[in-house]
Amino acid sequence: MANTNERTLSTKARKTTVLVMYGAYGIAIALWVAAGGLRPLPVAFLIVALLLVSLGSLFVLFQRTRYWKWGNSPDTDLDEFQIASRNAAYKSAYMIVATLTLFIMFVGRLVMDATSVVISDSARELMFWGWFMLVLTLPAALLAWTERPLDDDGFVAARR
């Protein structure tokens, strides 16, 4: 069984890291689309900085905590609670990704039809990698987001 106990962040730090990870990437895409590419230079620096912040958050969340292992280990490495939590996270992740995909396709189509916004190939590529990251990381991010902290190993107030 995988020991998924050894490393964690506080609840606040975990939630902040998840928000920064996805938020920074989303803002970078929006800036890229709005600016039409990596120009002018200050915008380019801002976009690169946001992408680095997003990747840094991803690294902090999954390299320095147990959630990646928890979200991606085979059943044989997890106990029954961990399997149940992971399966619930995958179900939620599927619903979120499916809903977002349909929503973005629908709204994107409406916006493209109603306006003259042109999304460049490079911006599409950035969106593709963002979606790729979201699909890969969302289950583990949901585990990080939803886990409620336990007290220490002291004897908890008796539930009887």
């Binding site: 069984m1 020991n3 998924t4 106990n5 106990d79 029954e80 609670f81 961990q82 149940a84 409620r148 336990l150 007290d151 190993d153 004897f155 908890v156 107030a157 008796a158 539930r159 009887r160």
Partner: protein, 78 residues
């Protein structure tokens, strides 16, 4: 909801979460979630916990909330 007395039994026997977790082959964190009532164990895990404490399953788990120790002792005293 499944109620349990795992934390009481642990305290009584002086067993840490880690020791119980190792004995029943789950993660320490899982014991914490069980104690808090956030997770209902499978029958297999329930039986393993009962075997570890050498106690009947219905002494550890119940569908109804357990009475408080004080009220139980008070009843016995009457």
């Amino acid at each position: 909801m499944l109620h349990n007395r795992i934390s009481v039994l642990r305290a009584e026997r002086g067993v840490s979460r880690r020791e119980l977790a190792d004995a029943v082959e789950v993660n320490q964190q899982t014991i914490g979630y069980l104690e808090r009532g956030d997770y209902g164990p499978s029958m297999e895990l329930g039986l393993r916990i009962a075997a570890f404490f050498k106690a009947p399953v219905d002494l550890i788990f119940s569908l109804e909330p357990f009475e408080g120790l004080v009220s139980e002792l008070t009843k016995k005293g009457k």
